[in-house]
């Protein structure tokens, strides 16, 4: 091999092949790239530009960093940021826990598991907006199932309209968000669990390891890469989760469910203050970028600490 490579006549075409490989690769990527360029990259650049203007329906003027100054001096904005992160951490943790429990149950060797796997899927495969309409009715104090059952069993005296008070509206929205996200997490975890080699379990079993031990010491470490990437993806999606909150509460009551994305939509679309809305959009992107980088950085540290490459 080395002899041939050393021969100039044979080495030269190989170099051009590498160069053409690069060109070929970029040709393959081009369609995807053009799409993203038009629909994501350019609008993103435009958003950044708009955030320095007072754009409304009528027109726009450059106003420097005034939008940001206004935003950062508003105490309500910090409440919204805090609420958004709390929303994200709570909802993602619950989705991961539910997903892990669900996947473990669906992975158990019991009759009927094929049917159960199908029954988990509906919230994932139907339009989000439709599932949320169902939840909106469930939460209704007059006719809804939740309030109805609680009264039936005498757990509450009066009707409870879950979306009408601040605290209950927030946690109700979390429950719905968890409901939408759980099936996908469950199925990804289930798929990962089925990918774990049987030999590992058998070796542990022969050594007398119990079920819980096998779960903790084999299943969890083996599917860790999937948990880790699911956690990040899920965090980003939850941070930007729009339809669920919008259909349930439109950010109310009194701002209790207003996350950054809802706030952005309200300012930009409902009140048509495009410039101020754009500034909020830029903040969202910046916060998510910082969060993702921090997450990956810590992950790297943890991995290195445990000697994983």
């Amino acid at each position: 091999m080395t002899d041939f490579a050393a021969t100039p006549a044979l080495a030269a075409p190989r170099r051009t092949m590498v160069r053409s490989e690069g060109l070929f690769a970029w040709m393959l990527i081009a369609p995807a790239l053009i799409f993203i360029g038009f629909i994501v990259a350019w609008p993103l650049a435009e958003t950044i530009r708009l955030s320095f203007t007072d754009a409304r329906l009528g027109g726009e003027n450059y106003i420097g960093t005034a939008n940001y100054a206004k935003l950062f001096s508003d105490p309500k904005f910090y409440d919204t940021v805090g609420r958004t992160f709390y929303w994200m951490f709570l909802s993602v943790s619950l989705k991961l826990i539910m997903g892990l429990i669900g996947a473990t149950l669906l992975n158990a060797a019991v009759p009927g598991k094929a049917l159960f796997r199908i029954l988990v899927m509906p919230p994932w495969v139907i339009p989000i907006a439709i599932g949320v309409i169902g939840w909106k009715w469930l939460y209704n104090g007059y006719f809804g199932l939740i309030s109805g059952l609680l009264q039936e069993f005498g757990l509450v005296q009066d009707r409870i309209a879950l979306l009408a008070t601040k605290t209950s509206a927030f946690y109700s929205a979390v429950v719905t968000d968890v409901w939408v996200g759980t099936p996908m997490v469950t199925l990804f975890f289930l798929a990962a669990m089925q990918g774990v080699s049987r030999d590992l379990y058998e070796a542990a079993w022969v050594d007398g390891a119990g079920r819980w031990y096998r779960f903790r010491r084999i299943t969890i470490p083996q599917i860790m890469p999937v948990i880790v990437s699911m956690a990040l993806l899920s965090a980003i999606w939850t941070f930007n989760s729009f339809e669920i909150i919008w259909i349930l509460t439109e950010g109310g009551p009194r701002g209790a469910t207003t996350t950054l994305i809802i706030d952005t939509y309200k300012v930009a679309i409902s009140s048509q203050r495009f410039g101020e809305g754009a500034a909020r959009a830029v903040v969202i992107v910046a916060l998510l970028a910082i969060f993702s980088l921090a997450y990956l950085f810590f992950l790297n540290r943890v991995n290195r600490h445990y000697g994983v490459k």
Binding site: I29, P31, V40, I101, P127, V226, N240, I269, A281
Partner: protein, 281 residues
């Protein structure tokens, strides 16, 4: 196998836990079905009742009259999702192959940039997106709902398919090269046939994404009723006088039925395919 054997008590425990888990997952559907069976005036005047003797399927007949274009909305939803899936796959397959197999400048940087697209949702970029679509003359057409959908699904598609393609043995392609096949020929005749299970999984995942997230782009970029997908079309049950909730629920359940049945058949491939491809050590 002996290792997997469960005692009766353990089985009861698992079934009980599964029951609770599935109850949570299916609760809104149970509620929607219950609402769809009751006459509207009883629904709104009476307090909650668990069971009622006025249950009927009347709403499933009336909904087609209240919203005459309901059938069109159901088909619009499927049409939009199918077109988004096709266009996304056309972009994703070559790109995923490039990331799985080829070495080229800025490879990891551009892949990272693709994945970063996940950080932007339509809601963040709504205003400039509106302007882009307007300048291309696409507002109030199917394309206004299709094109943004494609762009936001490409990154996930590439990410899923790339790890699947990486698992196909390189030797097969090298054998084809030795026989003098071109790269494009190899991709078409060697790699893609082997990747069919992975392609099904990724296309399914993309379809789900396209079908599940039709609401925002539809209400923002389209105001022609005859083009609306189901989630936006359901809002027509909210009339000037009152909301025909029972018919709305009936229409929602009927509308998602075709897609649910479709997934019933794909379910087996989906879980198996996720195992084989999407999951990377």
């Amino acid at each position: 196998m002996l290792m997997d054997r469960l005692s009766i008590l353990q089985k009861i425990g698992i079934y009980a836990a599964l029951f609770v888990f599935l109850l949570f997952v299916l609760l809104p559907f149970i509620e929607m079905f219950r609402v769809s069976l009751r006459p509207l005036d009883h629904l709104m005047t009476a307090d909650f009742t668990w069971w009622s003797d006025d249950f009927s399927f009347q709403a499933y007949r009336d909904m087609w009259v209240t919203v005459p274009m309901l059938g069109r909305y159901i088909l619009n939803s499927i049409f939009i999702a199918t077109t988004v899936t096709t266009m996304t796959m056309i972009c994703v397959v070559p790109a995923a192959y490039a990331y799985a197999r080829l070495e080229f400048p800025f490879k990891s940087m551009s892949l990272g940039a693709f994945l970063a697209v996940n950080m932007f949702t339509g809601a963040v970029l709504l205003i400039p997106l509106y302007r882009v679509l307007r300048s291309m003359g696409l507002l109030n057409t199917y394309w206004a709902m299709i094109i943004p959908g494609v762009a936001f699904l490409i990154p996930t598609g590439i990410w899923l398919l790339r790890s699947y393609l990486e698992k196909i043995p390189k030797e097969l392609e090298e054998a084809a090269f030795v026989d003098g096949a071109s790269r494009l020929y190899t991709l078409r005749r060697v790699v893609l046939p082997l990747a069919v299970p992975g392609l099904i999984v990724v296309a399914t995942a993309v379809f789900i994404g396209a079908y599940a997230q039709q609401f925002l782009f539809a209400i923002a970029f389209n105001n022609r009723t005859e083009l609306q997908p189901l989630p936006a079309g359901l809002y027509e049950f909210i009339g000037y006088q009152d909301v025909t909730w029972n018919e709305m629920m009936a229409a929602a359940l009927t509308g998602v039925l075709p897609v649910m049945l479709f997934f019933l058949f794909l379910q087996k491939y989906l879980v198996a395919g996720l195992t084989a491809g999407a999951i990377k050590e």
